[in-house]
Assembly symmetry: C2
Homo-oligomer: 138 residues x 2
Amino acid sequence: MDMDNADKNAIFPKGDKAPAEYFTGPTWLTMLVTADEVFNTSIGNVTFEPGSRNNWHTHPGGQILIATNGIGYYQEKGKTIQVLHQGDVVKILPNVKHWHGASPQSEFTHIAVNTNTQKGVVDWLERVTDEEYFQLVK
Amino acid sequence: MDMDNADKNAIFPKGDKAPAEYFTGPTWLTMLVTADEVFNTSIGNVTFEPGSRNNWHTHPGGQILIATNGIGYYQEKGKTIQVLHQGDVVKILPNVKHWHGASPQSEFTHIAVNTNTQKGVVDWLERVTDEEYFQLVK
């Protein structure tokens, strides 16, 4: 556990920095469960610093997000951004193009449960532009 | 949300009382995700009051526990009790007989992720006796 990176109110350590190729802005990942052929599930704890978000992407087997701290954003392609708060749960259907991240002014932490991982975990797509990200701020 | 039953530090409301048939001592359940044929996953937030535990049981499709608050117990048949703290993750293989709950002196909350629910969610068995539960206290 990186103590410089610890939050005494957090359930999990922030973990390692998520890959810059797929994340815009500093984002931290702790893997809790890696996928295997018994559980067909992987689980990660993700902390986005204010303004950070992942690229557009899809999950072949679906994903469930559980918001645990801060204020976050979630958007499916063609829909408006949803604001997420602690305790919110989002079910993301297989192959629905979407992104998630922090809101501009608040850090955001969620647990991400990847379901049916035997079908694949994630297919990464293009970055979320500032124009897309800041649409609620206009 | 039952405000008499709320904890301002909790991620989720405590929810409804879990069925006395399968739980010894007061236990509270908030369902976060119900099983369906797309995600094959159900997720619940469970809060055990000190001394409370569920019956021995098995999961045909497996289960993953994520400890979020307090101090808990987990035991698989024939093994010693494991003490669980915030941030601990337990992977319970399909058809392994086990139980979980709070420790005698501390409340305990976990998120329970039922995997491969197309195979079934839970098969309840006999109660955990006081002799079994208090084996670490002797």
